[in-house]
């Protein structure tokens, strides 16, 4: 049964190829050359030094946020509030970066912690409402996204605004709170390593720890967990807070590693990509890392294809959607194909 080993690798590749073929047709209709576009896409986003750096840069927030989604999912909670939690995390680390003075070895961890805590607060609220009041977390996390976005918009427009800036953004955070660049010359920053560490921590929590057992138990069967003496309410609150915290780290790393300031539109939809990533990864943390990398490549590939002046952005979005869709189809069909062998 060699096929069993090949399928998991082959089917996503098949899916991507199919999406690219459909995309090629669209690019042709748009009157451009798909070969130029795809050459640019692959050479740039994956094989060149800077291109790969860009991909990694996008991967960091995606990995942080999807780690949060996955953790919540393990406890049976559906956190679609990643966006808002990212904004809040960004706020937390920006505040520490702006108003605290400390040497880097204290300042950086402090700012990261603040990012985690602010995100956690934004995740805890729906967690509390769900656990204690039974309010559906899908709606509360969704609503809190909008509130966070408006709140940050207000803050960078008013109290936190850099004097004289033509657009709403804060002053630079202190140098001591900035994350270092890890691939010299590129934009790839230390947040990427932190995201990998976060994923590793979550992996250990889920797979190896007592807490992970508890979370999984609650996610699978609340009644049995309760019978076994696990506090379901506390677990849900804890997990939602942690989930928000990890999303918050995405914001923190964007502020501390990429832009060095708080700005409007901290997240261009990372929170939603993260949901797709978490589901496509089907509970596997390694899957999270690979899918985040893949989505990072898609996102930076979008810019690359545009720059190569060969594919309009509209087609690129369609290709992205098709790719996600086809991969999801491949994953759904995989067990069936295997059975038919």
């Amino acid at each position: 049964m060699n096929n069993n080993r090949i399928f998991p690798i082959i089917s996503p590749i098949l899916a991507i190829v199919s999406a690219l073929i459909v995309g090629a047709v669209l690019i042709l209709i748009a009157g451009a050359n798909p070969i130029t576009a795809y050459t640019a896409l692959f050479t740039e986003s994956l094989s060149t030094y800077f291109g790969f750096g860009n991909t990694l840069t996008k991967m960091a927030p995606l990995l942080f946020a999807s780690t949060g989604v996955l953790l919540a999912l393990k406890a049976g909670q559906f956190n679609i509030g990643g966006e808002g939690q990212i904004y809040f995390g960004a706020l937390g680390s920006a505040l520490v970066g702006l108003y605290v003075q400390a040497p880097a070895f204290i300042h950086v961890p402090l700012a990261i912690l603040a990012g985690f805590i602010f995100g956690a607060v934004w995740g805890f609220i729906p967690g509390y409402l769900k656990a204690v009041r039974g309010i559906n977390e899908v709606i509360t996390t969704l609503l809190l996204n909008y509130i966070a976005i408006d709140l940050i918009s207000y803050l960078v427009q008013n109290p936190l605004k850099e004097a004289n800036a033509p657009s709403p953004y804060s002053p630079l955070i202190a140098k001591s709170a900035q994350l270092p660049i890890i691939i010299p010359g590129s934009l790839a920053h230390g947040g990427i390593l932190l995201a990998l560490i976060a994923a590793l921590i979550v992996y250990i929590i889920i797979k190896r720890s007592t807490l992970g057992y508890q979370i999984t138990a609650v996610g699978l069967n609340q009644k049995a967990s309760n019978y076994a003496g696990i506090s379901v309410q506390r677990t849900i609150m804890l997990v939602m807070a942690a989930s928000g915290g990890f999303a918050g780290l995405a914001g923190a790393s964007e502020v501390m590693g990429l832009k060095y300031r708080l700005f409007e539109q901290v997240s261009p939809g990372y929170g939603f990509d993260a949901i797709a990533i978490a589901f496509l990864s089907r509970g596997s943390v390694l899957g999270l890392v690979l899918n985040s990398l893949f989505f990072g490549a898609l996102r930076s590939g979008a810019n690359v294809m545009q720059r190569s002046a060969s594919a309009p952005v509209t087609v690129i979005y369609a290709i992205q959607g098709l790719t996600v869709l086809f991969i999801a189809i491949a994953l759904a069909l995989e067990p069936k194909l295997r059975h038919e062998q």
């Binding site: 409402l129 309010i135 899908v138 369609a318 996600v324 999801a328």
Partner: protein, 310 residues
């Protein structure tokens, strides 16, 4: 505050709520059958685009509305095929539909409408005699066909769900598909019909947006309304009237915040644009909270596991 102001407020509330309510009703059909539909946003956009394009070519709004209906239904069909037949993760399918619809409608929009300002014929308002003359709420009876249709759809959906056999089947399929299956109901068929019907309704919402409200198509003009519709659906506990009222709440707070801004009240605008969401949040916390989704929502049905799980 005079009557005109109230009338305007009511009219504005209605206009802002209509696309939401269409999308929420569409989502309701899908989710009541157990198929999660996070792709409402993409369906709205599809409806908006096709209605504008069809009207642009045909010069006839009825053609435009029908096109939106068909296109929305088609997206629903795709979603149903993915979720019901292929058993793709329902959430991912919805998210992907949003992405693809966003990209394709913009792509085609540029091909079709490039350069020209779209001049689409108006959807005429139909004044209902006598009723339209009632002060303040008379405005409800000077609407276009899509609004009346929506009223009808909400009433019919309520009737359908709770007083008809197919409606009962739909609810049973969404709550406990094994049970429906053993009662001789085809879970697959019910889900297909529900998701496609839902898609048609959302498409109509898109048509309202493009043809009635704006009178032209712009890229990304759904602007998050599909997600608010989902929020309304949950808020309204998957009940047609509850969900419609939730949409009305979103519409009313939006209309209100715009009026507060227009009156020149000295509050940073961000606190006003967040008002609809904050109010919804407060309403949830203030006891309108608990809402239990259909039990089988998001779970693909497999006959061989009948009786083992839901």
């Amino acid at each position: 505050m005079n009557n005109d102001f109230l009338t305007d407020f009511l009219a504005s509330t209605l206009r802002l709520s209509v696309p939401l309510a269409y999308a929420a009703m569409g989502g309701l059909f899908s989710e009541r059958s157990g198929v999660l539909n996070i792709g409402l946003e993409g369906m709205l956009l599809t409806g908006a685009f096709t209605s504008a394009a069809a009207t642009f070519y045909s010069g006839n709004v009825v053609v435009g509305i029908c096109a939106a209906l068909i296109a929305g239904g088609f997206v629903g069909l795709v979603h149903a095929f993915l979720c019901v037949t292929l058993r793709v993760n329902q959430l991912v399918s919805g998210l992907a539909i949003n992405l693809v619809a966003g990209g394709l409608t913009s792509f085609l929009g540029r091909l079709i409408f490039s350069g020209s300002t779209q001049r689409l014929p108006l959807v005429p308002a139909i004044k209902i005699p006598i009723l339209a003359n009632i002060p303040i709420i008379g405005i409800l009876f000077e609407q276009d066909i899509l609004v009346y249709l929506l009223f009808l759809i909400i009433a019919l959906t309520t009737y359908f769900l709770f007083y008809t056999n197919p409606g009962l089947n739909l609810r049973a399929v969404g709550e406990y598909p094994s049970s429906a299956d053993t009662a001789g109901i085809s879970v697959t068929l019910v889900r297909y019909v529900a998701v496609v019907t839902g898609g048609c309704l959302v498409g109509c919402g898109g048509a309202y947006l493009a043809l009635v409200q704006i009178n032209y198509f712009t890229e990304g003009m759904s602007a998050g309304k599909g997600f608010i519709a989902i929020a309304s659906l949950i808020f309204g506990r998957w009940h047609p009237i509850g969900s419609a009222l939730a949409c009305l709440l979103f519409g009313a707070t939006e209309a209100l915040q715009l009026r507060i801004q227009a009156l020149g009240v000295n509050i940073p605008y961000q606190f006003l644009t967040m008002l609809p969401y904050a109010v919804a949040m407060i309403a949830l916390i203030g006891g309108m909270g608990k809402s239990t989704p259909p039990a089988a929502l998001g779970v693909p049905y497999e006959r061989n596991s009948a009786g083992k799980n839901i």
